[in-house]
């Protein structure tokens, strides 16, 4: 290993040495220089290029968004999707720190870190999505409390700070900063509660963004209950994301997770999945009526696809107690839920305004640059997680 004290002086060098010490994670067998990592770096570089191009030449030159379709892939996928993928953290943190359900403690660090990267992905993408990136901080000092977007912006900043606080013990531990560690432990329960409140609001706020569009959003998705549907689907997504990442890291990094943890998560998927299904069906019946599911062409198809992939199939897969003991079944169901909820966010963010926008003669399909930035952001989140898994004690107390 490189000794940084010779390059950066004893103080900084020592800290760097401690941070880059990966002895505790050797057993996970994480290699940095792999073809997969190279692909990730390549994608991140592509996104960096797009970001630069976008800042210099503007949104018109880099994206296909237009006056009738002002929000595109970046908002629908990176922001709505990225934040939904991060929902696992506050649930697990709440279970461990508030409800004292200690069995979930072994996955708390990983799910909080995963959320941190989800939110970071959303934050970076929206920075490039707004036309005036350099002043994206304006809402923080220019309050406008009628705006859901203002609420979202405030929450994004506060929650990123909260997630960083919740994750900081991992870093302080490595550096051996005991006073900082103690200070964080002292405020942990409060921070977790703050995080729970912020997350409940943040997840629902993203849906509340669309409350003001009764005449533009397709009735398949518009409902005055859309904030609550965003919240419940995010909870369902949260359980799935945590199971997915727990099983995946178990497979990739050679470590085992107690089966009863996964079983608990699978129960959560079934419960919130069923609730979500009832809500979605209820709003369609009480709103445009069930007939709309057959008569609205492409949009009906998207609604049915989203519900089949993200709700019906995974809930049926996990409905039996015996199937909740099978890790492979949980893995498949989790992936389906994640895809289904991401599809829901794409539907709300992109497709649901299509009938309005088409009516006035407008169309939208993301440009190559929009895809490249999004791909790069996902790569960034994966690589960031991998680096943290190598250098931080991400899986304490797990059997290995």
């Amino acid at each position: 290993m490189i000794d940084f004290t010779t390059y950066a002086g004893p103080k900084i060098g020592n800290a760097l040495n401690k941070l880059l010490d990966d002895r505790h994670s050797r057993h996970l067998g994480i290699k940095m220089d792999t073809p997969f990592t190279r692909v990730l770096v390549f994608l991140i570089l592509g996104a960096a290029f797009v970001a630069g191009y976008r800042v210099i030449f503007g949104l018109g030159a880099s994206t296909n968004m237009n006056d009738y379709w002002p929000w595109g892939l970046w908002i629908a996928f990176d922001v709505l999707g990225g934040v939904a993928m991060a929902a696992g953290a506050f649930m697990i943190a709440g279970a461990v720190y508030i409800l004292n359900l200690k069995k979930y403690k072994c996955i708390a660090r990983a799910s909080i870190l995963n959320a941190f990267f989800g939110y970071l992905l959303a934050a970076i993408s929206i920075t490039f999505d707004v036309g005036r990136s350099a002043v994206i901080w304006h809402p923080l000092i220019m309050w406008q409390i009628n705006s859901v977007m203002f609420i979202v912006a405030l929450h994004l900043v506060l929650y990123l700070t909260t997630l960083a606080t919740e994750s900081s013990p991992m870093v302080f531990e490595k550096l051996g900063w005991h006073r900082a560690l103690n200070a964080v432990h002292r405020i942990m329960v409060g921070a977790v509660m703050f995080g729970v409140a912020l997350s409940l609001l943040h997840q629902s706020s993203l849906g509340a963004n669309y409350l003001i569009l009764p005449s533009k959003l397709s009735p398949l998705w518009y409902s005055k209950h859309i904030p609550y549907m965003f919240l419940v689907s995010a909870l369902m997504m949260g359980f799935s994301m945590v199971s997915f990442e727990t099983i995946l890291t178990g497979k990739v990094f050679n470590h085992q997770v107690p089966k009863n943890v996964l079983e608990g998560l699978a129960k959560g998927i079934v419960f919130f999945g069923s609730l979500y299904f009832a809500m979605k069906l209820g709003t369609v019946i009480s709103g445009p009526g069930l007939g709309v599911l057959l008569h609205d062409g492409f949009l009906s198809f998207m609604w049915l696809l989203e519900m089949a992939v993200g709700v019906v199939i995974p809930v049926m897969l996990l409905a039996k107690t015996s199937s909740r003991k099978n890790i492979e079944t949980i893995f498949v169901a989790s992936i389906l839920v994640i895809l289904g909820v991401l599809l829901n966010r794409l539907n709300v963010g992109v497709f649901a305004v299509s009938s309005y926008a088409n009516h006035v003669g407008s169309d939208y399909f993301p440009s190559i640059m929009e895809f490249v930035l999004t791909a790069g952001m996902i790569a960034f989140a994966i690589l960031g997680f991998k680096v943290c898994a190598k250098y931080l004690n991400l899986f304490p107390d797990t059997g290995h």
Partner: protein, 360 residues
């Protein structure tokens, strides 16, 4: 855990009290009342001859300092935004933002806006059906209509703007834009039920563009350019209360009645005398999206002209306010509920065997 539970509970109760005390101060709900001195336009499509004089003058009169199309260079624009200050630039623009590349074969010759855009605040479009012979007839006829900001009484764009860059003047009710505040998120575009705000997509430091009812000219004692330069009285400027009465009067009149239509402004001395047309379904703007300060009359129904029929007749910001008003209670609920759950579950743990497991 190194903190005592009592100390922790004290802290939580304290913050809950602070939060609860903060709730009454959150009463910034948007007004749904017409401002006292609200001004607006009445556009009567049956008087419009499609000369587009309003469009020409809108563009030139707004391309001066203070106008809705006036723009700084990128660098001063960025600097003003970063320093959070209004632009104080007074230099004239080189040329109004003409759109000369929208039609093939028109390379820089004439301004040919096809739609509202980052460079066009006001547009006259034509409706055509069948042979197109009869003016103001839905079948085999033609008609003109005007698109621009309608200056909602309770504007969705103002309510959704995160840094408050879109503002409704409390007196005149004009919805205007403070560029230096804007972050360019385009939520106003999405939220506007009439799809009015437009974006400067090609600019690296884009602004939102919409009609600001010539606010800079009103400050000089003048009024909206489109009304001043309308030769037929199709667009008139006035107080909203007067315009509403005028619109209702025309709407109620028997078609064919000879009437003195005021030109330029509601209380103008010059009039144009002609028969009243048969107006279609409604006066547009009385109730749409909770009511707008600009009103429109037409002989061809607004739905046929392409105006959305799904816009609710109530103020749109109320839809989000119902959600936002609940937010303080979520904090309160989570902190009180969370604290009691924490207290209960930790006591259970303490009684059990699970000790010394707090290091995370």
């Amino acid at each position: 855990m190194t903190i005592s539970r009592r100390g922790f509970l004290k802290g939580v109760t304290g913050s809950a009290v602070v939060l609860a005390a903060g709730i009454p101060s959150v009463e910034a709900k948007m007004s749904t009342e017409l401002p006292s001195e609200a001004v607006g336009l009445l556009y009567d499509a049956t008087l419009c001859v499609g000369c587009k004089s309003c469009m020409v003058n809108c563009k030139t009169k707004n391309s001066v300092p203070g106008g809705a199309l006036y723009k700084d260079g990128v660098v001063p624009g960025v600097v003003d935004s970063l320093l959070c200050r209004k632009s104080d630039k007074t230099e004239a623009m080189k040329s109004p933002p003409y759109e000369t590349k929208t039609i093939a074969g028109n390379e820089g010759i004439w301004d040919a806006s096809q739609d509202l855009s980052g460079d066009t605040l006001n547009i006259i479009k034509a409706y055509r059906n069948g042979t197109g012979e009869m003016k103001d007839s839905p079948t085999n006829g033609h008609a003109f209509f005007k698109q621009q900001c309608l200056h909602c009484i309770s504007p969705a764009c103002v309510s959704v703007c995160p840094p408050g860059a879109l503002i409704k003047d409390p007196k005149s009710g004009i919805v205007y834009y403070d560029a230096y505040r804007c972050i360019g998120c385009r939520y106003c575009q999405l939220a506007c039920p009439f799809n009015i705000p437009r974006y400067e997509w090609s600019s690296p430091w884009p602004e939102i563009r919409k009609c600001q009812l010539c606010r800079h000219r009103i400050a000089e004692g003048k009024y909206a350019a489109c009304a001043e330069y309308c030769p037929t009285g199709a667009t008139i400027f006035g107080k909203v209360t007067d315009l509403r009465e005028e619109a209702k009067k025309r709407f109620a009149m028997k078609p064919g009645t000879i009437y003195d239509f005021p030109v330029q402004t509601f209380d103008s001395k010059s009039t144009s005398t002609r028969p009243v047309a048969a107006y279609a379904d409604k006066i547009y703007g009385l109730t749409d999206a909770g009511g707008t300060q600009n009103l429109m009359l037409s002989a061809v129904s607004f739905e046929l002209l392409g105006f959305s029929k799904d816009i609710p007749a109530s103020a749109l910001p109320d839809l989000t306010w119902a959600y936002i008003a609940k937010i303080p209670w979520v904090f309160l609920g989570v902190f009180l509920g969370g604290t009691s759950l924490y207290a209960i579950t930790s006591r259970k743990n303490k009684n059990g065997t699970d000790k010394g497991d707090h290091h995370d």
